[in-house]
């Protein structure tokens, strides 16, 4: 593919040299910080619903003080 393509696979071993990764802190692969996967469709819908609410609120704000 290209010169960098081969680096992708080898980067995992290089990460061990990082002080943060290899020092007192556990490596990212060994950490279990995300016990439960969020319900992504609900999260996406929440973000978009907030946008709709904001637009309605902004419109009401505009009209109220026009």
């Amino acid at each position: 593919m290209n010169a960098r393509g081969s680096d992708v696979g080898g980067r995992g071993s290089e990460m061990g040299k990082d002080r943060d990764a290899a020092g007192s802190a556990p490596t990212p692969d060994s950490r279990q910080t995300t016990p439960a996967e969020p319900d992504w469709p609900i999260l996406y819908a929440t973000v978009l619903a907030e946008l709709v609410i904001l637009i309605v609120a902004f419109y009401a704000f505009t009209k109220a003080f026009a």
């Binding site: 593919m1 290209n2 010169a3 960098r4 393509g5 680096d7 992708v8 980067r11 290089e14 990460m15 040299k17 990082d18 002080r19 943060d20 990764a21 802190a25 990212p28 950490r31 910080t33 995300t34 996967e37 969020p38 992504w40 999260l43 996406y44 929440t46 973000v47 978009l48 907030e50 946008l51 904001l54 637009i55 902004f58 419109y59 704000f61 505009t62 109220a64 003080f65 026009a66």
Partner: protein, 574 residues
């Protein structure tokens, strides 16, 4: 500036820079240096993303924008939450799966080296100039209003940012958190003081009515007009494409969420940004609207750029300028009386009279705007190099003129923090792209991590000096926040088009993608030069024309079987 202001300003800056330098120690490999070891959690990612976008221009120019033009600028950000959702679904899983350092690295796996070089080059050109503007913007305003030397201020900010950024991405992201919080705290204090500085008989509700009647609370406008810079449609359509490009293809933002420990952390960082950004911009614009109300009851200067004013009164135009100042003072007095009459009518429930008086005050406002325009023309005659757009000076003039001791220092610290946060991300991304997409890809393919980290540090300093250099030559850019966004919109549509091809058009290859990008960029150029189309629509033009051109070229000129490099997108999809 009083001694206590200096203490607050210097104390804050020294603390922030020291913290950044401390956090940037001991980064020996590229993953640790460029991507913070891919260990960051969503709160840091979200705040870092927000701090990157919220430059000093945001805090200086946005309130001035609301003062001069009302709050409709918030519509610019309406597409942001939509873009965050789309990127969380499409881009984040791909970038994480491929473990790329830069967004452009992904394009090589998808298309080939030509596309990577073209997009990385567009990014380096665009971001190199934009980063210079983010250094220059606060430097010129602060130096003019406080009488500091512009060159010393520009270089000083640039060097502070270089000191933090040389420490790598972790230092940048960690300091972003503190910088953003200080900046927002500063704005909250500004809003509080603006409201408390109103006359005692003017309540917050009265202030809202004054701002609304004078057209400063025009947050949403559903009318469709391609020539209007900010309305609902340009925000939702053009804004979504601009934000998709900025957050999905601009390395200064991509690098922020590539630091996420998992796909989940990166996604959450983006989504939280999508939820907070629009209210945050509303808040900053609202500060500007309240500053506008404040200056309806307290006489504002005819021209907020006091340095330009001080120059013109020493020229042969002094008497003409003095006459304009007298007209301005008389108009202000009539306007203030009209405001009080309007509020009195409102308090008695006489809305017909209130509307009639409001129309009269708006006419006075137009008269005052004409006086202001005449003053700007006079200033331009006296000094052709003077900045005749004083929108950027409104907020800081208010801070310097009316804030108590100590708080001025806090606000200046907030502005410097914002300048450093956006600039640090820019330098960080410029250095990463230069090393990963140019140095390690084409110049020294066998460079080890230690060499790359050393080169990254050198290139951070190099790009920092370039930014300082751009700042030294920048001037006459009008409203700075608009200038930066216009400049970004010129390139972002084209870059987004290439990424859309990468994500969704598996049959399009390297040559067609590059050709499409060139056609898209030419279309944007023609649109910018020969039409009055508002700049947010340039993103739509660049993206759509680029994608259509690439598909046509691939289908009719090259043939669907002629892809020369890259892998099938279906293997990379989310």
């Amino acid at each position: 500036m009083r001694p206590v202001d200096w203490i607050v300003l210097i104390g804050t800056l020294v603390t922030i820079v020291s913290y950044g330098v401390w956090k940037g120690r001991h980064r020996k490999n590229l993953d640790g240096y460029l991507l913070a070891g891919r260990q960051l959690q969503w709160p840091t990612i979200a705040l870092s993303i927000m701090a990157t976008q919220a430059s000093a221009i945001t805090f200086l120019s946005t309130p001035g924008q609301a003062y001069a033009d009302g709050m409709r600028f918030v519509q610019f950000y309406l597409g942001l939450p939509i873009a965050m959702v789309l990127l969380a679904i499409v881009a984040v899983p791909i970038y994480h799966r491929l473990k790329v350092y830069t967004a452009y690295e992904y394009l090589e796996t998808r298309f080939g080296p030509k596309t990577r070089v073209v997009t990385a080059s567009l990014f380096l050109a665009q971001r190199g100039v934009s980063t210079g503007l983010t250094v220059y913007a606060p430097a010129v305003i602060v130096s003019l209003l406080l009488g500091w030397n512009i060159h010393v201020t520009n270089i000083g900010i640039g060097l502070l940012v270089i000191a933090i950024t040389v420490g790598g991405t972790k230092a940048v992201s960690r300091t972003h958190v503190h910088q953003l919080l200080i900046a927002l705290a500063g704005m909250a204090v500004a809003l509080t003081i603006a409201i408390h500085s109103l006359p005692t008989d003017v309540s917050l509700l009265d202030a809202l009515h004054v701002a609304g009647k004078m057209g400063r609370l025009n947050v949403i406008d559903f009318s469709f007009d391609l020539k209007t810079p900010y309305n609902f449609w340009s925000g939702i359509i053009g804004g979504t494409l601009l934000m998709l490009s900025y957050f999905g293809c601009d390395q200064s933002q991509v690098q922020r969420y590539l630091t996420g420990e998992t796909v989940q952390q990166s996604r959450l960082g983006l989504l939280i940004n999508g939820m907070i950004k629009v209210p945050m911009q509303f808040f900053i614009l609202f500060v500007g609207a309240m500053v506008f109300v404040f200056f309806q009851f307290t006489a504002p200067p005819l021209f907020f750029n006091s340095a330009a004013r001080n120059k013109v009164v020493k020229t042969r135009y002094a008497s003409q300028y003095a006459a304009l100042e007298q007209t301005h003072a008389a108009t202000f007095a009539s306007k203030r009386n009209g405001m009080r009459e309007m509020l009195a009518a409102m308090h008695t429930g006489d809305s017909a009279r209130a509307d009639a008086v409001a129309a009269r005050v708006r006419a006075l406002q137009t008269t005052d705007a004409n006086t202001h325009k005449a003053a700007a023309d006079l200033i331009a005659k006296a000094d052709p190099a003077a900045d005749t757009n004083d929108t950027n000076y409104v907020f800081l003039s208010f801070v310097i003129g009316f804030f108590p001791a100590g708080v001025v220092g806090l606000l200046l610290a907030a502005i410097f923090c914002a300048a450093m946060s956006a600039t640090a991300s820019g330098l960080n991304a410029l250095s990463s792209t230069s090393v990963v997409d140019v140095y390690r890809r084409f110049i020294s393919c066998d460079a080890n991590d230690r060499d790359c980290v050393r080169m990254s540090k050198m290139l951070t300093v190099f790009w920092g000096l370039v930014s300082i250099g751009v700042g030294e030559f920048a001037s006459h850019v009008g409203s700075l926040i608009e200038a930066v966004n216009r400049f970004g919109s010129f390139f972002y549509g084209t870059i987004l088009g290439v990424f859309v091809l990468a994500f969704f058009f598996s049959k399009v290859g390297d040559i067609a993608a590059v050709s499409g990008a060139v056609v898209g960029q030419i279309a944007v150029g023609l649109c910018a030069i020969f039409t009055n189309t508002a700049y947010l629509w340039w993103n739509v033009v660049g993206c759509v024309v680029g994608v259509v051109a690439a598909v046509v070229i691939q289908t009719f000129l090259l043939g669907v079987g002629s892809r020369v490099s890259g892998v099938e997108a279906s293997n990379l999809g989310p």
